[in-house]
Amino acid sequence: MTGHRTLIVGAMLTLAAGTFVFRLAGPLLRSRVEFPPLVRRLLETAAVVLLTALVATSALTQGHGFAGYARPVGVAVGGLLAWRKAPILVVVIAAAATTALLRLAFGG
């Protein structure tokens, strides 16, 4: 690894710079261009759609396959509690505990 350490650090800095540019792009564009209210609403909905997809992929998948039952069941329990207006502390602890206990019980 030491052989190409400089290359790795360079790669890491490139990733950091590129990520910063991604973070900068949206607000920069919005400060230059005035979008009509309909488009502004659509852009907010886009973020909600993206985050929902992220919930689905991070709850259900691992790499290119299925993550196993323990994680999605835990997330579903947390989601159900959130839907019943439970505080986030309860949601998170219930999700983690359910997943951990299922793994303990079934080894998956």
Binding site: L13, L15, T19, F20, R30, E44, V49, T52, L81
Partner: protein
Amino acid sequence: MRSAWRTLDRDLLRSIVLICASVAMVGISYGASAAAAGFPLWLPAVTGALVLAGSSEFLFVGIIAAGGNPFAAVAAGLLVNARHVPYGLAVPEVIEPGWRRVVGTHLMNDESVVLALSQPDIARKRAAYQLCGLGILIAWPLGAFIGSVGGSQVRDVGAFGLDATFPAVILALILPRLRDRITLRAALAGAAIALVATRYLPAGLPELLALSGLLLGT
């Protein structure tokens, strides 16, 4: 700014603390696995502070540890992080003008954005976004450092069910937004598209593809 943080209700402040705590735990596992793969001890923490986007860092470190090309690792990480563009388009108002702009921009991540979306007005959107972002800026690199130095017990986050906390938090915070019928339809279509795409496409792309769900919902 501190007075603005006081406008946040207690449940939200607790959620931010909780989010940061679980980010730190995952950071510990990230640092531990990077150190086990032979990376220098400072690297996960420095990467954590500069990139500040967990899933892309896991991927980046994982590809290099597996003997992959660093350029491929950068490309894979950038693909995962491309979702920050639509995030910034959705909530540009959370970033304050002036010198705070650079820091505010760097604080953008899944959790800070979803918290901003969950708040009713600009002052609280900004306060939630910044407090959560700053907390993660501390918790993530700190966790990574502890993990890489400690060679920790928490290498397997699965045993504690910690991998369920990230989707659960995002889901809980996004749920009120999904009460709107049109948004819900678009979000469900997007999630289905992303799940199918995950089988075939590299990480990051399925979530971007989910945006096509907007066409079905609107």
